[in-house]
């Protein structure tokens, strides 16, 4: 019999709040977290707005050998603190190797470090002032850089390999995985955690994603891909998933983590169960790096495979938290895919996009939206897709426009689709002890 996977811990640091209940309450109020960028002056940039974490995230500067001062490390530590506190897992003795072997961390980590800016002084030394230097030859930079080990060592932050080990020391885990599938990463992390538990490799996995992409290079970089909206005048109205006037997504930062656990393990320790991961589905477009397959083939395959994996018929899903990025291509393709999988417009359950309010958390998006689904199951309420004002004939589903809705949700689907054509869907359900 397949090992069942339940969620016993939730932790988040998002632009709205660092608490899952407050996050969900604000989403149900239709409150946008999008504002003009404050972490630097985005003057003249095409996209000058983002959903940043603007409240202080307190924590220690170091955890053992790990430096927690970089933003992604700080967010990861804080979300893990909350998730582990919520799960109430017992702390393991350092020499309890058997128990540690049953715990794992799986973290999706994304783009967005400013560490390279610490090398600015070395670039001046090597290349002179920006005004007079036209040739930026790397050997000259290298000769300068090798004299500044302290500055170069800051580059460590630029690598993404420190967060998951740091979380492993918090959980007492002896297995660490870091992975990335772009915007599908967070859901992918859930899928991989489920795989570990089903294969009896772990009983407890701390899983999720972190991303801090609101930086001087990533903002204009994503603008060059025509991915970000340039509707800077009214930030709260800029993210408009499924609306005719949508023009791109909003960059966002944060970290969300789940503690997922094998059911019997959770029951044996009396854990609070927030929901069950009923099914996971994955598919790849194998199409283009920047665009989804326009018919939503890979998206639909991921949804269909997740349903198949869950054993839940499409009629058993009451709510879909869409990838819903607010780009022309994603929203149209996702709508086509949903209609195909669920059997047409009228058979597709209500759909809403959290990204209308907190933008695109990239590597943390899928897991944050999975938390939203669990909150919908808990509260019997689905949040709206805000800024849905002008219908698009290509996007003709019920997107819960602008106002939250009371809805009994026993089973929800969360979709995540990434640059490069990687697609993951997750089916979450109310925990039902009588389910076989």
């Amino acid at each position: 019999m397949r090992r069942r996977v339940v969620v016993t811990g939730l932790g988040t640091v998002t632009p709205h709040a660092d608490d899952v209940d407050r996050l969900f309450a604000q989403l149900c109020e239709g409150r946008s977290a999008v504002e003009r960028i404050t972490s630097f002056d985005p003057v003249d940039l095409p996209s000058q707005i983002a959903a940043e974490v603007r409240y202080p995230v307190e924590g220690p500067d170091f955890l053992g050998p790990y430096d927690l001062r970089p933003r992604a490390m700080r967010f990861s530590w804080a979300a893990a603190q909350r998730a582990l506190a919520s799960a109430g897992l017992p702390e393991l003795a350092p020499d309890d190797f058997a128990a540690r072997a049953r715990r794992a961390v799986h973290l999706a980590v994304g783009v967005g470090s400013t560490a390279i800016e610490a090398l600015g002084g070395i670039t001046l030394e090597a290349w002179g002032t920006p005004e007079v230097s036209t040739k930026r030859d790397l050997p000259a930079f290298r000769r300068a850089a090798v004299k500044h080990d302290d500055a170069v060592a800051v580059l460590e932050e630029w690598f993404v390999d420190q967060a998951a080990p740091a979380l492993a020391t918090m959980l007492g885990a002896s297995s660490v995985t870091t992975a990335a599938s772009a915007c599908a990463s967070g859901s992918h992390a859930i899928l991989d955690a489920v795989a570990r538990i089903r294969l009896n490799q772990s009983d407890v996995v701390l899983t999720g994603g972190v991303c801090t992409p609101v930086t001087r290079s990533m903002m204009p970089g994503f603008s060059m891909l025509s991915a970000l909206t340039t509707a800077n005048e009214n930030p709260a109205a800029a993210s408009r998933p499924f609306d005719m006037d949508r023009s791109g997504f909003i960059m966002a930062e944060g970290c969300s983590l789940l503690v997922v656990e094998e059911l019997e393990h959770a029951l044996a320790r009396g854990a609070t169960i927030h929901g069950e991961v009923l099914g996971v589905g994955i598919a790849t477009d194998s199409y283009r790096l920047t665009d989804p397959e326009p018919g939503g083939r890979g998206m639909g395959d991921a949804m269909r495979r997740a349903l198949l994996d869950s054993g839940v018929p499409s009629t058993g899903v009451q709510y879909i938290n869409a990838h819903g990025t607010s780009t022309k291509m994603n929203d149209a393709a996702e709508t086509k895919a949903m209609k195909r999988v669920f059997g047409g417009r009228d058979a597709t359950p209500p759909v809403s996009s959290s990204k209308s309010m907190f933008g695109h958390l990239i590597h943390a998006a899928g897991v944050t939206e999975a938390i939203v689904c669990l909150q919908s199951i808990k509260h019997g309420r689905v949040h709206p897709t805000i800024n849905h004002e002008t219908p698009d004939p290509e996007c003709d589903l019920d997107y819960v426009p602008n106002v939250a809705r009371d809805l009994t949700v026993d089973v929800a689907m969360s979709n995540s689709f990434g640059f490069g054509g990687q697609n993951v869907s997750v089916i979450l359900g109310r925990y039902d002890g009588s389910r076989a």
Binding site: G110, R136, R143, V160, S175, L199, S217, G221, L289
Partner: protein, 435 residues
């Protein structure tokens, strides 16, 4: 795990500083190191020598699925990844993956390991430089002037950012291989390559696919990585003879010698192998992974115990005793503090006499994420030809390995254990058995 069907390796391919997988084998058997002075575009990159890949864009375009690959959209990580995947497709007889039936593509996946996708820094450094405030620069100070961000991006394209996303090696490879099943990029420390292979094995055991292309990309000869390794004191000493600088498990080693590589495999279920007619080369028999917090973020490990436990766990999963193993591919990173511990663990695991211990870093340097998969390539090649090349540049092995066979022989190689140990504390081991 016995409830799950067998999974086989049916093909492999690699690109290395010595050439493709065959050239890698030839160089190793001949005792030739691909480590050489870094010149031209790599001039002044510490430590001044390494084993950069010799693979070219022209060669890539001649591989299956290679015609659509464009260099402007790829980092060096991705280039090595698609090179290795292309070699693997070629060796698997998959000459035109795009022509495969939809139901075949739907059941094919790609999992690759990559030590991030960032360290190619030229564009980012240019932007950093350009953002400097002019008045402050005149005083010799670096202060960012945000109004200079946009002008500093002159000449950039969207791909200069997209290509650095960590999933890009796999995204490119999945298009190249026409893989519509699971795809993921595993990141992190240098042991991540074996992890990607193991996760692909998991995907097959879970029924997510019938056929997985798995492996890793490891561009060690890169700006960010070489500078950081040097700054953290992990790199080999300068002013050494390049050909003898990479000294795995040798007391004369002074640190990591950077090398480029990518290596990949076709993993498939017995049913799929039967359908394709590809000959199973080896069966995946056991895998283990272990994280131990090091004393600092880049090491050292607290002792040899975790390495020994790791190896024993992989053997236990395979149902083997240590004496059953014919061939061990160690890490042999050339980091004295790690090599000493690995030597002690190996000595306790197997004792002198047998099996062969065959490090490859003397030939192609330390290839980051590709290190473990390249060790697996070497093991498969030894299974095929019965030859175990001598460990290159091992003149004074750590005392614990006295009396051990550090390559240099021949025999019936049936069972192999591959170790990939990252100094940062992630340890991986894979056991494979010849079919």
């Amino acid at each position: 795990m016995s409830a799950f069907a067998d999974v086989f390796i049916t093909a492999f391919g690699a690109v290395t500083g010595a050439g493709d997988e065959q050239a890698f084998r030839s160089a190793w058997l001949a005792g030739e190191s691909a480590v050489r002075p870094l010149v031209d575009k790599l001039e002044a990159l510490p430590p001044g020598y390494g084993a950069p890949v010799a693979f070219t864009q022209k060669e890539l375009r001649q591989l299956p699925g290679g015609r659509g690959q464009r260099p402007g959209t790829q980092t060096h990580h991705t280039f090595l990844a698609v090179g290795a995947v292309g070699r693997t497709l070629l060796n698997a007889g998959m000459s035109d993956p795009a022509a495969d039936l939809e139901e075949v593509a739907d059941r094919r996946g790609v999992y690759l390991g990559s030590y991030t996708n960032f360290p190619e820094m030229k564009k980012h450094l240019s932007l950093t430089h350009a953002m400097g405030d002019l008045e402050a620069a005149a005083r010799g100070e670096y202060v960012i002037d945000d109004s200079r961000i946009l002008p500093g991006m002159k000449g950039f394209t969207g791909f200069d950012f997209l290509k650095h996303m960590n999933n890009m090696p796999t995204a490119h490879a999945s298009i190249m291989a026409n893989a519509r099943g699971p795809a993921n990029t595993f990141l992190g420390h240098s042991s991540v390559g074996l992890q990607a292979v193991a996760r692909a094995w998991d995907a097959l055991r879970l029924g997510l696919a019938d056929e997985m292309i798995a492996g890793a990309t490891g561009p060690g000869v890169l700006e960010g990585l070489c500078l950081l390794r040097k700054a953290l004191g992990m790199q080999s000493a300068v002013e050494l003879d390049p050909a003898t600088a990479a000294r795995p498990l040798d007391q004369g080693a002074t640190g990591l010698v950077p090398g480029d590589a990518g290596a990949a495999f076709v993993l498939e279920t017995a049913e799929r192998a039967s359908a394709t007619g590809r000959t199973p080369l080896a069966r995946l028999a056991g895998y283990s992974e272990l994280f131990v917090a090091p004393e600092g973020p880049r090491g050292p490990l607290p002792g040899a115990g975790p390495i020994l436990a790791l190896a024993r766990q992989a053997l236990a999963e395979a149902g083997w005793e240590a004496g059953d193993v014919d061939y061990i591919s160690p890490t042999g990173a050339g980091l004295p503090q790690l090599d000493r511990l690995e030597a002690a663990a190996l000595a306790e695991l197997v004792g002198p006499g047998r099996p062969f211990i065959a490090p490859h870093t003397g030939v192609v340097g330390f290839t980051e994420g590709a290190h473990g998969p390249l060790g697996l390539v070497g093991a498969l090649q030894a299974m095929q030809d019965g030859q175990v090349p001598a460990a290159l540049n091992v003149e004074a092995p750590w005392e614990a390995l006295e009396g051990h066979k550090l390559g240099g022989g021949s025999g019936d190689i049936r069972r192999a254990l591959i170790l990939s140990l990252a100094p940062e504390g992630t340890l991986n081991a894979l056991a494979v058995e010849r079919v």
